[in-house]
Amino acid sequence: MHNKSVAELSAGLQKGEFSSEELTQAYLERIETLDKNLNSFITVTAEQALTAARNADQMRQAGKAGSLTGIPVAQKDIFCTEGVRTSCGSKMLDNFISPYNATVVERLNAAGMVMLGKTNMDEFAMGSSNENSYYGPVRNPWDQKAVPGGSSGGSAAAVAAQIAPLATGTDTGGSIRQPASLCGVTGLKPTYGRISRYGMIAFASSLDQAGPLARSAEDAAMVLNAMAGFDPHDSTSVDREVPDYTANLTESIEGLRIGLPAEFFAEGLDDGIANVIQAALKEYEKMGAKLVDISLPNSGLSVPTYYVVAPAECSSNLSRFDGVRFGYRCDDPLDLEDLYKRSRGEGFGAEVKRRIMIGTYALSAGYYDAYYLKAQQLRRLISDDFRQAFEQVDVIMGPTAPSVAFDIGEKSDDPVSMYLSDIYTIAVNLAGLPGMSIPAGFVDNRPVGLQVIGNYFTESRLLNVAHQYQLATNWHRQVPPGYE
């Protein structure tokens, strides 16, 4: 069953070939045997999953099933789940049983989906390798030595290993697309405001956006239908109609104008990856698309800009973790200041502390203009580059990451080199645009992702463009050895 697409699973449930309980049981067994090594889950909610599956089966019998009813899903451990530990990959929240559900969780529950558990991640979504998790690194199913990417590394690895048919992720600077690329799965970061952020533990509020990780664009489209939509609890949620994202998948892309930013193919890009991307572009040309050279002149500054904006917001967002109302509290605080400093000092890992300190510094008196304000100005320039580009092209393509999955431990001592893993993904978050990563080949037996970037609220178009490629190629159907 685990080799089937979500559409096939949905059809199987509908025809009564298997029940959701059987399907869920099958995935739980795969998790049990395969995840010991992968470490892609922080919490497996087997009992709740089986209860939810039985409820889904009853819904189906009552004739109330939708296309996702009874389909298992893994939730990134950044989404608050009532009654279930929501750790955000941190010691700080190791004991945090959320008293409420995130809107994304509510929506998927309402669709009848069955949560298998909570996936591993870089602590507070800060990282590109999943090595910054309190619960240990996740292994890449394609190569045990390699990282799965991050921060949604657990979700990407779980989908790649087929121990979950679908998973949710969040993307602040590439945290869905980069692990999707490194694990060979399909990941979509929608337009900022498309999916509610309520109950999704904030890293950088103006950049964070939830999205699906799946084995294909079609699967992603199905779950996006359930995730997307206006939420009155989120002021930054956009009140705009949600189309059926599966409706346009089969449309022809004849005449599609694909922009190729010079900056995405410049120095720093691995040759092997460049070749894979070129091959993918040829495939698109065969389908009738036109390649257009474009430039995003300020995109080179997206990493420095991001490393002011994101830490500034995170330094403030993470102040609520103070050992008073929830989460980790140090033993025997001497006084109030000691309570704060030790609870936070002991509860947060090194990368989180680094980013809090960078953000604190960037916002502090005397530095605000030089760092924060400057970064906001650059953000506008980076964003304007995309605006101009989309006057000439329909989508933009390039590599998702500058290299394939690197080895565990390879970059963990050097934050700056780690930050450069997101060099092609970050600008999209700064602008708030939708972006995807789809499997496009391999280098050294490690997957390579093709990034597709669209204009605001053109998720349907992106999914259509990705689906057409997946009709023509088989890269997305590759399964890591041992996980067939």
């Binding site: 002021s235 500054l301 490393y307 330094s315 929830f326 309570l339 400093k341 936070r344």
Partner: protein, 95 residues
């Protein structure tokens, strides 16, 4: 921009983070490297550019003034480290 140990201490205090003395030099190095990366920003002249705080050029939505939440104190305090008689307890605050 390079940060020394004193500055790291000052920032850590402002952020209420206890940092072991032995780790301070490493933080100083890493933070300095990050700031060096960040300083590439100065390569572009941004005079007159309107700062962008948000990807969406939208206005704040307003909700009606209605009470929608009921008392869930016991539920919310299940995850609290230390409560007594409905209050969150912290070490004595000196005014």
């Amino acid at each position: 921009m390079s940060l020394d140990a004193d500055e790291v201490d000052k920032i850590a205090h402002l952020a209420r983070l206890a940092i072991d003395d032995k780790d301070v030099p490493e933080y100083a190095t890493n933070l300095s490297n990050i700031l060096e990366l960040v300083e590439q920003m100065s390569a572009v002249d941004t005079t007159g550019v309107e700062p962008m705080a948000h990807p969406l050029e939208l206005a704040q939505r307003l909700r009606e003034d209605e009470v929608s939440e009921s008392n869930q104190r016991e539920h919310f305090q299940e995850c609290a480290p230390k409560v007594e008689r409905g209050l969150y307890l912290v070490p004595k605050v000196i005014e």
